[in-house]
Amino acid sequence: MAETKEKSLSDEKPKPRVRPIVRLGIFFISHSFLVSVVCCTAGVLALFLLPVLAKNTYISENALMPGSASPMLSNQHVSDGNRLVKDLTNPNSKSSETGIESHKIIAQYMLDLGAEVSFHKFHPQMNQFHPLHFFSSPDSGKIQENYSCSSYGINTVGIIRAPRGDGKEAIVLVTPYNALKSGFGEALSLGIAYSVFSLLTQVTWLAKDIIWLVADSQYGEYAAVAAWLREYQTPKFSSLSTPNAEMCPDVNNLFELKGHSISGSKFSNSFRRAGTMAAALVLKVRDQNEQFEDTISIYAEASNGQMPNLDLINVVNYLAVHRQGLRVNVEKLWSLLNSSWLKTLGEIFESLAKVAKILYPKWKFGITATEYVEGTATLASSLYYQALGVPTGPHGAFRDYQVDAITLEISPKFSLDKVWRNDILLRGGRLIEGVIRSVNNLLEKFHQSFFLYLLTSPSKFVSVGVYMIAFALLIAPLPMVAASLYVAANSSSNCSKGDSSTPSAITDTDENCIAIRSWRWLNSAKLVFIVHLWGAIVSLLPYFISQIPDCSPTTSFMIWVLLSILSLLTLNSVLASPLACAKATQEKEWALVKSVTISSVFIGLGLMSVINFATAEIGALLMVPMCLLARPLKLDVRAGTLRSFCRMICNLVLGHIAFPPAAFFLLKGMLDGFGNANVGDFWMWVESLWAWNSATYLFIGMVQLPCWVLCVSILFHTC
């Protein structure tokens, strides 16, 4: 507070002048409390304002030209597709145990169109925890043993070569299909893909090759697509397992596909390729649906919050809404839709916008309250799925190879008559045709539109430039508070006289004292370092725990917790030297610890925002208040004022919420209800995180958990 006061007389001895920017910094540091309150409030408010600030999407790349050509998919192609659906749902085709019959049917249909067909055998690769593989590219070097003949999947791949194209680029269409227990929806998705495929064999405008991948989803949709991509991008030339697989009688049986004589050369059991992939579409049809109209859901989130280019989503949205009359859906957090506080917030924003519009008619940022609630629900799910870092569908496999991909899930209003089926085949097919045609028009790869965005509705988005503000406001006070704490701790200890915090006050104190004091932070830094080291150990522990055979999630989790506590105690006793615990320095020790913690959290959040913004944002929401408020409970109890009491309550609540498992259960409870919460769930969740190489796992283990431990240790500091 001393800084704002200005002296009217300037007749003192001249002092070394300080640069304005430094003065500004000192100003902020000395007002860190006010600054942090203002910044944090503004940050949270900015986050809630995002749905209001969302812009309408627009197609940025001119070459896409969606919907400019009238769809060519006719009833002829639809009836072709219908034929395939009938053949696949025919009970005769399911006679074989391995579902090879239906693969043969699909391959035969592809061959009849004149496409090049090949089968791709793959062995599902179990997702395993590789501590050092987090940011490395997907590799082919994993040679696995113990392949049995029974466990393999077969992808059927059909390729249409563009008649006049140069074959440098390709568009991929993926339909997951489980031959063993396929629902009607899967067959229908194959029907749609086939009708589009049969059209594309005849068109003259094709400039890029078309690959239709029927991914065998009996080991999971993602695994099949990922296996195919791995073979496509990083094939193994020296393989030990393939000859093994060739021995299996069933496989050889597969290749006795009796193609018609003309297609003899078109079929091969070797892997076939086309050029660089320009985009990929995954098509699914949901079996059951409660909706009253045909909707199409877009899933776009890939691993670590990577998104496909916004143009791809725009094209699908534009074509679906304006051409095919389908309703487009993006994932929402449904529980948020009914929350009353959001509704009130939306109403407040609405009325504010009304007032603003009256004041100045050009201010048109208002959205209605219902729109606001829906936008917030979509935004929240967008943030959540990006933060999770786990792909929301098979399209995630493509993103690992820098291919823009989305999953389209058509959920038709369910009825069984033929007219309806033809209608959905026609509309779905025309949508896919339109998207493929647009991508086909592309001269360059997707680069015009955004890669970093959050969706608030299928046609609205928040770009990185806007959502960055909320995060920046949230973490802005961290360095200031750290600096002010450091300064305060340095100046206010026993050597110093008063509570003036400017560096000038220190100049006249004892040199020796300064030397000791200015290095005191190293002690706290050591503590912080030890806790972070512990965090790294804790994140590595699951690798060893997962090696234990026959372990239920609950016991694994318990073992993990026990080992973590044990390792913390061991580390503390071994590394934390008792020398520094001199009584004199003890007093403001917690302030230094807090300062260093806050700096480390700032660094961690900053780094994470580059890797996965959404994780950093959610982490900042949890950790920043906790870090800023942390203060020894003893002090607060001693003070006994209302303010300290409030702070104590806040600290206790935040200390509970910010503990990662607690945060997880709270979130889960909010989404699904608290009824079936189980301790093992957290273990499962963590397992899925590391299986998908999600950076969120690292963040929780190495930033959030240490931060929580440090804050708790500050809370229980004995001073």
Binding site: K7, P138, Q233, I262, S270, V355
Partner: protein, 673 residues
């Protein structure tokens, strides 16, 4: 007047005399030249197994040696002969291609595919007959000339980073070859028109009349090629002048409209076609300048084997008997016109069955009775074209913008098996494969990382590679070239060759306008020196040899091109220069501003001034302003004994006033709107 006119007449006389002399002299040369300056036009049609049809136009003109007739030509295009003379081109080939040759269904083991299947875009190679240090200059001039001649951006091949110097793997093996490709060049009718201009009849008469642009460019593949050989300046005794060979290879789909409606039952019968149905035109007589003008229909070995001609055994006698009924009226197909002659292939070493060639003379036809040939299929036939010994495909491995690998994988085709079983008797059987690969400099290939896999087993490079020549790329100077001869065992099933690379960075001005498309890596050439694609047809008169058939007889090694690859490089944000300029300017402004500030400032005087001001004790607002300025200048002092309330009071009052005024304004607006 008479007097005046006389000299004119005299002049005229002299003039005419001289002209006559010249004319006579020219005529005599002309008579001589008639023997050698020739033009011939031919068209070869060949059905493919996948319901498509190959039309291969072959025009050949030859010029006499320049010494005999100066620079005058009758038929031969002057532009070409000038080009040859100027740049001392010994041999040159230029091809414009659109689409891909489908090696699997269109074959790769016959003279047509081996020499006419070209990579997409433009390919140019030339052999010069100049001293080594002049070659690059000649090449540059040649590219510019051709660029102007064919309306294409061949001039981009001028820079040293785009062309290469193959050492030995490229067919006309000699040190004077330059080779360059433009894989992303779009080929269209503006390239065809200048090409047609080189023909004596253009496309106004003769077979070239068929070149209807819409139907040509509707095709699946088309490649126009210009090949010239000149022995003009060679030191050898034979002096045959320049031979210009222009070919246009098109793969068309006969009546593709009907194919949509046709259903599964009829789908397997080959479509019937005729010249008028595929080109929409008919040939009304030959180009009068052409020495020979003929249309051929080739049924290749596989097809002939399927058709089971009744007297295949005594084929030779049938060929001698020319129009033997058995050969053209077959139960499975029908020709709409009677062939003038039928050629049978001489027994080849690689295949049991022999191909048949029907020949039609266009001379017989005229405007009133235009030439049209059609083929009607009666029963479904299916066959396979003869393929290259190994099917080559090339692709990228890896992901990301940093590094990757190029892989060339070779797979044996069904043809090899038969051949190998025939050849494996003589012990050590080897299959030689030559690979010629040019890589632009921004794809930095590490040749030491070359790895070879044979039948899925990694093999030592020295075991497999017989000969290798590598010239590493120089940044912005020259592309990397790799020439390898692989020595594979005959029974090889698959072989693969991988080389790793790093992706380089380009300067911002080196990016093309469509940098985000990616960069093309030209096709690799895979050739099989052990195998020769040649077709020798039995002919009775060697005098009247057609250029096309004699071309077929040449023994050229089987060659195939791999796909063009697209490598995405990191592209900068192209608005970056603007940002850089802005930031730089800001930094400069800040720097110079503060520098000037420091230089200008007189500290003592300022302090005196401030003191004087403080003594004056001005009003509140100026005080605040001076405070603000003092604050900004960093002259704030420790407030030790000033009353704290005063300044905050002033501040809050001012703020209150401002808020009041703003509120009033807003209220006014709110009430009155």
């Amino acid at each position: 007047m008479v007097l005046l006119q006389r000299p004119h007449i005299l002049l005229l006389l002299i003039g005419t005399h001289q002209f006559l002399q010249c004319w006579i002299a020219f005529g005599s040369v002309n008579e001589e030249g008639q023997k050698q300056e020739e033009f011939s036009e031919e068209l070869l049609l060949k059905p493919f197994p996948d319901h498509k049809l190959l039309a291969h136009f072959h025009f050949q003109s030859s010029a006499t040696p320049s010494t005999s007739n100066g620079c005058h030509h009758h038929l031969f295009p002057k532009a070409i002969s000038q080009l040859v003379q100027k740049f001392r081109v010994k041999e040159m080939e230029l091809s414009f291609t659109q689409g891909r040759w489908n090696y699997e269904s269109w074959g790769g083991f016959d003279p047509i595919s081996s020499s006419n299947a070209k990579p997409p875009g433009v390919e140019l190679w030339a052999v010069f007959d100049v001293p080594q240090h002049h070659i690059d200059a000649s090449w540059k001039n040649l590219t510019h000339t051709l660029s102007g001649l064919f309306c294409a951006s061949i001039n981009f091949l001028e820079s040293t980073a785009t062309y290469s110097t193959p050492e030995w793997s490229f067919p006309p093996a000699s040190g004077n070859v330059r080779y360059g490709t433009l894989p992303c060049e779009a080929v269209c009718t503006e390239n065809l028109t200048p090409w047609l201009k080189l023909l004596p009849c253009r496309d106004k008469a003769g077979i070239a009349l068929l070149l209807d642009r819409p139907s040509l460019y509707r095709g699946f593949y088309h490649s126009q090629r210009l090949h010239l050989t000149s022995t003009e300046s060679s030191s050898e005794g034979i002096d045959s002048g320049i031979i210009l060979e222009q070919t246009l290879t098109v793969v068309l789909q006969p009546n593709s409209e009907r194919a949509i409606e046709v259903h599964a039952s009829e789908k397997h019968i080959q479509p019937s076609w005729s010249l008028s149905s595929i080109f929409g035109k008919q040939v009304s007589g030959r180009c009068v300048l052409a020495k020979s003008s003929s249309v051929y229909l080739l049924l290749d070995r596989g097809l002939v084997a399927e058709l089971k001609f009744p007297n295949k055994e005594n084929g030779k006698s049938a060929a001698n008997g020319l129009t033997s009924e058995n050969f053209w009226s077959n139960p499975s197909f029908e020709l709409s016109a009677n062939p003038d002659r039928i050629f049978l292939e001489e027994s080849s070493s690689h295949s049991k069955s022999l191909s048949i060639l029907y020949m039609f003379q266009v001379e017989k036809y005229s405007e009133s009775e235009p030439f049209d040939i059609g083929l009607m299929w009666k029963v479904p036939v299916a066959w396979l074209c003869q393929q290259t010994p190994l099917h080559a495909s090339r692709f990228f491995m890896g992901n990301g913008n940093e590094r990757g690998a190029i892989a060339i994988s070779l797979k044996s085709t069904q043809f090899t098996e038969g051949f190998m079983s025939a050849n494996s008797k003589d012990g050590s059987c080897e299959l030689r494969v030559e690979v010629f690969q040019v890589v632009p400099w921004y794809v930095k290939v590490y040749f030491h990382s070359l790895r070879v896999f044979v039948d899925q087993q990694p093999r030592a490079v020295s075991d497999i590679i017989e000969k290798i020549h590598v010239s590493p790329s120089k940044d912005k100077m020259s592309p990397g070239v790799m020439e390898v001869v692989l020595k594979l065992p005959c029974r090889v099933n698959t072989a693969a060759l991988t080389v790793e690379f790093d992706k380089g960075f380009l300067r911002i001005d080196e990016y093309p306008p469509d940098a985000n498309q990616g960069f093309d890596i030209p096709s690799a050439i895979i050739s099989f020196p052990n195998f020769h694609a040649s077709m020798v047809f039995l002919e009775d008169d060697s005098l009247n040899k057609s250029p096309l058939l004699s071309k077929f007889q040449e023994k050229c090694p089987v060659m195939s091109y791999t796909e063009v690859l697209l490598v995405p490089l990191t592209t900068p944000d192209f608005s970056m220069p603007y940002n850089v300029i802005t930031i730089t300017c800001t930094v400069f402004a800040l720097y110079f501003g503060s520098l000037l500030n420091v230089l200008q400032r007189r500290v003592a005087e300022e302090e005196r001034f401030l003191k004087a001001k403080a003594a004056k004790k001005t009003g509140r607002l100026p005080l605040l302003l001076s405070k603000l300025s003092a604050k900004l200048r960093g002259r704030r002092r420790e407030p030790l004994h000033s009353p704290p309330s005063s300044s905050s009071f002033i501040n809050s009052k001012l703020v209150l006033k401002v808020i009041l005024v703003a509120g009033l304004a807003l209220g006014w607006q709110y009430v009155f709107s």
